[in-house]
Symmetry: C2
Subunit: 420 residues, 2 copies
């Protein structure tokens, strides 16, 4: 059975979980990703806001499989699937044959038909996105320190975050703390604590996925950090000069996009139906409809809970789906009946606001404030893969907590645009 | 006297030492650098070879001066000096007036009239250089894993380092260890331990600045690590296909340039004589000849020892020069006579070969082997600025030592050329 070949596309939470679960199962595995690293995405906003370094939340995918000779890792970009020929097509023309294919290719940020905003309003999905945002935020303060025109200085010291989901709230909170706590003593010509951090939410509240009282608490915590939260009006224009909220223009040199996601093109590769966000609609066993040997999991799959609500695009959901597909493959190889349909178990929702407040909704208990923050921190350290990084991240956080100094404030790589 | 304005250009070892020494002296200081970070350059090769992360060897310059309100840090590029008007000219048109100016602008790598080689043979002076080299080295192994043509695969698995000074030797040793120790278990289609690491030296021996017996030991240590050291012939061509050594062509996809340095254009700004490497020739008090208020220190100054030999371009030399200029300024402000001419005290030379051998020449004692390696490691940890980073770097090294895993193996940023 070592000839049975499982091809997994995507080394995110879902793909890695599946590959781990298939240990000791008599299959060959090829894991393909266009990046060489697995990214611990829930902490990516901390790289964007100078709390953590890139290498603290990303690790070479192939290093996880050192001791599993049956796993081949390829750094390559998949551009299509030929489900008739049972082949994956790589950029450059190579093909890889599969017996079972699992697409776990994730999602990227979406601009709702305004892709032209991307250069001025980067989103946050990759390490490069995070270092781009970090560079722009830090450069804005640096340029303000040199600037003599008060209007330009004010625009440089205005930061707009679009979208008040977990990422937007996390970014706004930390940028505000950076400006108000870490930086003031380091600048001589500007008062960084006067920086304006604007969080724009088209809907009526922040963190809409949480219960209303937790949402209200998060709003208060944001306002206590000095974040200017604006509800009910969408962003209608992003440019190098500023942002238009509803029909009022705010001069602003730094915009971060945290408003929408779009699935990777797995559904297009297979020519199967997708939902509005491009997620492939799968059957109850997470299969591409009508294609027995192709599974789709994680952020690129549209999966419904038993109550008809969508499974959220979060790491635990992707991992559960990876677990489930491993069970289906094992059952098939063992000639046993398939497990029942996939069932998502929601373990809870967590979000942080700055460096001392958080909200947690486990269903059976709700937490908020500093206790929630500590639970959040311990949970994330627990889930970090690899002892070395657990210790490194814990150490970084402890240092920040004690010293109030951020450790990862490097401006690297040249900006190809958006420079003054 | 708080109106006395010292402008320091460059936040390297010399510039920072000077600014530190001027604490409690009644002067205003403006420290200008075109990067936002001080770089611990002696460990830069460890970032290029995946041992350390960027944030472990670089720190925001302005963070050093949080508690010194008389120090203003500016992220800006100096493009000229008007010594008549006592002004520094910034890119963008701004000018900064000075009473005393200290140019500590360092050096970059040089291609001896072959600047066209830079895209295919990057040097190692900045964090971006280091991540570029890291990306190319890691991508070469990744592409080899996918490659079916044996000739192309061999070229991908050939790494040429040009120049066997400390940087070249360090890079060659670690890349060879990476290929032979860290990576073999992670690849399935290639044997990374068969990778060819070629170190090209036009002269007759490696680490020519050291005594001959230490040089000979270093050569043996390199060969034990599997490095192919080639003497006596210069590189005559670098291209995307390979490197020509003397007149023999070696197919090779990764070239690193460690062969020469060129000073920053301080001498040109002042229109004063420079040596062959572009270093400004200064007087015995490190002043630009004929310019009472302008000092030049570090890698951009040509300074001779008492025996007529040049002061080496290393961190301790730059620091001693920063110390010296601080004394001259203090004496001047106190109305005291100037100290005697600058005298360089050579404290010793260190170089490492891989992760367990090193050579040290303190003059009064020579060390080599694992003891030298530990002395080297402790010395570097001692000199790292800031408790946090000492601990972080010590931890990274200890982890590598125990686990034989490198911690910073991220491929980030897109390559704009040199891709297949």
């Amino acid at each position: 059975m070592q000839d049975y070949h499982v091809v997994i596309v995507g080394g995110g939470f879902g793909g890695l979980q599946l590959a781990n679960d298939l240990k000791d199962v008599p299959v060959r595995i090829t894991l393909i990703d266009r990046r060489n690293h697995h990214l611990f995405q829930p902490l990516l906003y901390q790289v964007a806001t100078t709390l953590l370094a890139t290498s603290e939340i990303a690790w070479p995918i192939r290093s996880f499989f050192r001791d599993r000779p049956e796993v081949t890792t390829l750094l390559a970009e998949v551009v299509g699937v030929d489900s008739e020929a049972h082949q994956v097509q790589l950029k450059g023309g190579q093909t890889i044959a599969y017996d079972t294919l699992v697409l776990a290719t994730g999602a990227t940020h979406a601009y709702f038909g305004h892709d032209e905003w991307e250069p001025v309003a980067p989103g946050l999905k990759t390490l490069e996105d995070a270092t781009t945002i970090r560079r722009r935020v830090l450069l804005a303060f640096e340029q303000a320190e040199l600037e003599s025109d008060p209007a330009v200085r004010d625009a440089l010291l205005t930061f707009t975050i679009v979208g008040a989901g977990p990422t937007g709230v996390e970014l706004a909170g930390i940028i505000s703390e950076l400006a108000r706590t870490t930086l003031p003593k380091e600048f001589r010509n500007i008062d960084t604590s006067k920086a304006k951090i604007i969080l724009v939410e088209a809907g009526p509240r922040v963190l809409a996925a949480f219960a209303e009282d937790l949402s209200a608490y998060a709003l208060k915590a944001l306002e206590a950090l000095g974040v200017d939260v604006r509800f009910g009006k969408p962003v209608t224009l992003c440019s190098a000069e500023g942002v238009t909220i509803g029909d009022s223009f705010v001069p602003c040199r730094t915009i971060v996009w945290a408003a929408g996601v779009e699935a990777s093109p797995a559904a297009k590769w297979l020519d199967i139906p997708a939902d509005r966000a491009g997620r492939a609609v799968v059957d109850k066993e997470l299969r591409a409809p009508g294609k027995e040997d192709i599974f789709i999991i994680g952020d690129t799959a549209s999966v419904l809970r038993e109550d008809g609500s969508p499974v959220p695009g979060i790491a635990p959901a992707a991992k559960q789906q990876g677990d489930y597909v491993a069970k289906v493959i094992k059952a098939k190889l063992a000639g046993k009946p398939a497990p029942g349909p996939f069932r998502y178990r929601h373990q809870g929702s967590l979000a942080t606001i700055g460096k001392s407040a958080a909200i947690i909704d486990f269903g059976w208990i709700k937490l908020r404030g500093w206790l929630a923050w500590w639970v959040w921190g311990l949970a994330h350290i627990y889930f970090l893969i690899g002892t070395r990084w657990r210790i490194a991240v814990a150490w970084s956080w402890l240092w920040i907590y004690i010293s109030r100094q951020h450790s990862a404030r490097l401006i690297t790589q040249k900006e190809t645009m958006h420079e003054d």
